[in-house]
């Protein structure tokens, strides 16, 4: 994409870097916030992971060779940041990632930045019970409404495997919701 190449050049050129990075921030801060928030669940952790994501993007721009799209590269960094924050937190508290997520979901009821009701809580709990990869695929497809091709670029998994993952995730969530 010639437009993207030009934009990357602007990001790398010290004279245009400031303005270009500001554009990048404005374009990506909301979608990346939503992606991270769906993984880490609370606002403060999302804020931390989002800041780290943009700082990492800035630091690694010179290494970005355009082998993938800027979009999927940034989504990949954001996903990794969110997952590593979650793992670090779980390790710090000496619990599994699933236990930590369930605890965070229980706290959502009193979270000022959550206005969901019972069905939302149940859905988040059902997602937390899934394996990590299925969680990511489900969140990207169901909440973020990304296309399989985009998810494939971000996670480096084939479209076929992603469809299977999503299908399994939906089945397990339905069983979970009915059982609870």
């Amino acid at each position: 994409m010639p437009e993207e190449e030009e934009f990357i050049q602007q990001l790398l050129n010290p004279k245009t870097q400031n303005e270009a990075f500001q554009k990048l921030l404005l374009a990506y801060q909301k979608p990346l916030y939503n992606l991270i928030r769906n993984i880490v669940l609370n606002h403060d952790d999302t804020d931390d992971a989002l800041q780290n994501t943009f700082i990492k993007v800035f630091q690694n721009l010179k290494n970005f060779k355009g082998q993938s799209k800027l979009f999927s590269w940034m989504y990949r960094i954001a996903t990794n940041e969110a997952l590593s924050l979650l793992n670090q937190k779980a390790k710090k508290h000496g619990v599994s990632s699933e236990t930590l997520q369930n605890k965070t979901i229980d706290n959502l009821k009193s979270d000022p930045y959550f206005d969901g009701d019972e069905i939302q809580i149940k859905l988040h709990k059902a997602i937390a019970a899934l394996p990590e990869k299925q969680q990511l695929v489900f969140k990207m497809k169901y909440f973020e409404e990304l296309k399989y091709e985009q998810i494939s670029d971000i996670l480096g998994t084939s479209v076929g495997a992603l469809k299977a993952s999503y299908h399994h995730a939906v089945k397990k969530i339905e069983v979970f919701v009915m059982a609870n």
């Binding site: 400031n18 990075f21 500001q22 921030l25 404005l26 801060q29 909301k30 916030y33 939503n34 928030r37 769906n38 669940l41 606002h43 804020d47 989002l50 800041q51 943009f54 700082i55 800035f58 630091q59 959502l108 000022p112 930045y113 959550f114 206005d115 969901g116 009701d117 069905i119 939302q120 859905l123 988040h124 169901y142 909440f143 939906v170 969530i173 339905e174 919701v177 009915m178």
Partner: protein, 136 residues
């Protein structure tokens, strides 16, 4: 029991809200905290570190030089010092020396010295002490 099908249900939203004006402050914060001069700082630091390491290596090599050069000479014993040591500092007697020598060594020492009369006269003339010794 009522069946639950996700695709038949109305879309369930995540339920997450974002604090007001969050994104305005967020982009300002990020722009302020970008590590702008970091690469340059790192490069200067690395250069200094390398220079320090080179200086340290040279210093170590320089300190090693006298050790290498002085060690072989200390093993060689000066012949005069050995002679003096054998004469004054040890309990080795002439008998010990004789015992230590093989008969072949003695044969080597036992060479005939051809002396002409004139040479003997010269020696006697230049060494007044010898005359005294002969007299005794």
């Amino acid at each position: 029991m009522k069946t639950f099908k996700l695709e038949n249900e109305p879309k369930i939203k995540s339920g997450f809200n974002i604090p007001e004006h969050y994104f305005e402050n967020f982009s300002e914060n990020v722009m302020r905290n970008l590590p702008r001069n970091e690469p340059k700082v790192i490069s200067i630091f690395k250069k200094r570190k390398n220079l320090l390491m080179i200086a340290a290596a040279i210093l170590v090599v320089a300190l090693m030089v006298p050790i290498f050069y002085s060690s072989p000479s200390s093993k060689e014993i000066d012949s005069v010092a050995l002679e003096n040591y054998l004469s004054y500092q040890t309990n080795i007697t002439q008998y010990d020396l004789i015992n230590a020598l093989e008969s072949e060594d003695i044969d080597k020492i036992n060479t005939t010295v051809a002396l002409e009369n004139k040479t003997i006269e010269d020696i006697l003339a230049t060494n007044p002490d010898l005359e005294q010794l002969i007299n005794e």
